[in-house]
């Protein structure tokens, strides 16, 4: 906190306050509604097998692929009845955390 920080405006309950921001406030992650049709990796690892193909109809709970991380074979499962739209990974590919693995869509 110092005088040389630029004054910003912060709105609280309709009133506009002149003030400064903290680094933590400015770097906070803006919230976005999760898109349930996008499947992201929850841990970095290696894709050791893929069981589905694009346009394939899949039932809720069916295993889509295996992601090996920390010596564990994690099954990525279908969250609802639907269809595979696009697959963004290949077998034996190593992917980072939060990486888009697959696009899906629910059954109409």
């Amino acid at each position: 906190m110092s005088e040389d920080k630029k004054m910003k405006e912060l709105i609280i309950q309709g009133a506009v306050y002149k003030t400064t921001f903290t680094r933590k406030f400015e770097e906070r992650v803006k919230w976005e509604a999760p898109d349930t049709n996008m499947l992201y990796s929850f841990i970095p690892g290696t894709i050791i097998d893929i069981f589905v193909k694009p346009k394939q109809k899949v039932k809720e709970g069916e295993t889509l692929l295996l992601l090996e991380a920390m010596k564990m074979q994690n099954q990525l499962r279908m969250p609802f009845d639907g269809e595979i739209v696009k697959i963004h990974v290949k077998k034996d590919e190593t992917i980072p955390n939060n990486y888009l693995i697959m696009e899906i869509k629910p059954k109409k």
């Binding site: 309709g14 009133a15 002149k18 003030t19 933590k24 406030f25 906070r28 955390n97």
Partner: protein, 514 residues
């Protein structure tokens, strides 16, 4: 052997052990910009006051070739001494000896001095500079950590515990500092984390340097694990000495009083605060018009600076200040500032330090991140801490006191002993802008010129409710005071509260919203 030769033998033995890890290791230590453990103790304590114990303790490891290794003092120095003539117990890990790694005898030396500190009711200072558990000693080194954590917890709220991080402090080791009252860090020297950069990289694929992950600035500004940040070790020691001057040696004592002195002549208090509640000012300037000699030791200066906590003196006696800072985030309450204030309030309460609260805040910080981070649970900590505190509690409302924040900032309803308000105080369920929008929604919507009507209604609401007199009419405010008498009113309030005695229902302990 004659007595003389016995003495010479003792001196020789002492000299040998005091070499620590030897010249080479000491050079390495200096290269990293660090003092040695012994140099640190000497720099921190009063001249010639340090007395060392357990100098000749040796490690007891028998595996992995350890049996043939000599580790002087087993990598830690313990003893007693004084700071500003006040007795303290101290331990300092010696990084030059096996990287300051913690084995069972090392831990036993630390727990010995911790037991002394608790028994003798004197502050404990721990200087951490260690590579972590001594792997060769296996579960014994874990046992050592556990014994330390247990004693940290037992001593909590009985004697002041101060941790000084002057090197690495990683893995389980970090939990001892985390259990203590105040953590001191030094730029480029302190490193604290549970899992280091290499593990994070291999598991999560995230690359980060040690400094960015757990350096001094990170803990002082982002995590809130550290309370005092310094650029050099010597600056850090000065901070510790100042802190020691403000706090009592145990929960059975009051902090030592100093000769009273008036605040420095500077800006007049009434000239610091703009009347428009939306324009900021530096609350620290207000505190400095109140404290003796305008001195103020700010705690956690860089973390959640939207609230200010710290120690000052009034008529020579230590006072803890909790104050909103309009200069940062308009002085809102949020998760971090709630944690920061609540823990400080509990510290003051445990160690018989009266609390003065200076209030000027617009409410809670809105945001999904705040709600999801648990601002309900975190915000509740302030309510809990103020309600539970039985030390004298004085509040001065300078300008805004809106909504839940009004209640939280040591209001009458949480048993503040004295609540004063400036004539500029606005005590209401929310600010005029927000309130007018709700109360006069219909009028505003139906008006020919809604914006004009809104402004008119805001003004109307302001005149009626944005003042201290509605609250004063209910007795929630004891007195509406002119700003220039702020210091004298607080002083008087603290004087008449000196023998305060309240009774809380007996219980084993409460369950605060951690």
């Amino acid at each position: 052997m004659s007595l003389r030769s016995n003495i010479l033998d003792l001196r020789k033995r002492k000299k040998e052990v005091q070499k620590g890890g030897g010249e080479k290791a000491m050079e390495m230590q200096a290269k990293m910009g660090k003092l040695t453990a012994r140099e640190r103790i000497i720099a921190l304590l009063d001249k010639n006051s340090f007395h060392e114990y357990d100098l000749f303790v040796e490690h007891s490891a028998k595996d992995f070739g350890m049996e043939s290794k000599v580790l002087h003092g087993d990598g830690v120095i313990i003893g007693t001494g004084t700071i500003k003539s006040k007795p303290i117990c101290i331990f300092a890990q010696d990084f030059t000896v096996a990287g300051g790694s913690l084995g069972i005898m090392h831990a036993r030396k630390i727990t010995k001095i911790m037991d002394h500190a608790l028994k003798m009711r004197v502050p404990l200072i721990g200087i951490n500079d260690s590579g972590g558990a001594r792997i060769q000693e296996g579960v014994n080194s874990l046992a050592g950590y556990g014994e330390i954590f247990f004693r940290n917890t037992l001593s909590s709220g009985v004697i002041p515990q101060i941790s000084v991080i002057l090197g690495p402090c990683a893995g389980g080791a970090v939990y001892s500092p985390a259990l203590t009252d105040f953590v001191f860090v030094v730029e480029n020297i302190s490193k604290m984390f549970i899992t280091g950069p290499s593990v994070i990289k291999s598991v999560l694929g995230e690359e980060i340097s040690m400094e960015e992950l757990g350096g001094a600035r990170v803990h002082a500004e982002i995590t809130g694990n550290a309370h005092f940040f310094a650029k050099t070790e010597l600056e850090c020691f000065e901070q510790i000495k100042t802190l020691i001057s403000y706090i009592p040696r145990s929960n059975a004592k009051k902090a030592l009083a100093y000769p009273p002195k008036p605040p420095l002549k500077g800006k007049k208090i009434e000239d610091i605060v703009p009347v428009d509640a939306r324009i900021p000012y530096d609350m620290r300037d207000i505190i400095k018009t109140i404290t003796d000699g305008s001195e103020f030791l700010e705690v956690m200066e860089l973390f959640a600076p939207n609230i200010i906590i710290g120690f000052g003196r009034m008529d020579g006696e230590t006072v803890g200040f909790v104050a909103n800072q309009p200069m940062v985030l308009a002085g809102v309450l949020d998760c971090d500032s709630s944690d920061k204030a609540a823990r400080f309030i509990r510290y003051c309460d445990a160690f018989n330090i009266p609390i003065v609260t200076l209030e000027d805040m617009p409410g809670y910080l809105p945001g999904v991140d705040q709600e999801h981070a648990g601002v309900i649970r975190h915000g509740a900590k302030i309510l809990y801490a103020y309600s539970e505190a039985t030390v004298p509690k004085v509040t001065v409302i300078l300008r805004k006191a809106y909504g839940g924040g009004y209640i939280a900032m040591n209001s009458r309803h949480l048993r503040a002993d004295f609540v004063f308000a400036w004539p500029t105080a606005e005590i209401a369920v929310m600010g005029p802008e927000g309130a007018a929008n709700i109360v006069f929604r219909k009028e505003i919507a139906e008006a020919e010129n809604p914006e004009e009507m809104r402004q008119q209604k805001i003004q109307e609401y302001k005149e009626k409710f944005a003042n201290p007199y509605v609250a004063a009419a209910q007795g929630y405010i004891d007195e509406v005071i002119e700003p220039r008498v702020t210091r004298s009113r607080i002083l008087h309030a603290l004087q008449v509260s000196e023998n305060k005695s309240v009774f809380l229902p007996s219980k084993k302990h409460g369950i605060p919203p951690f």
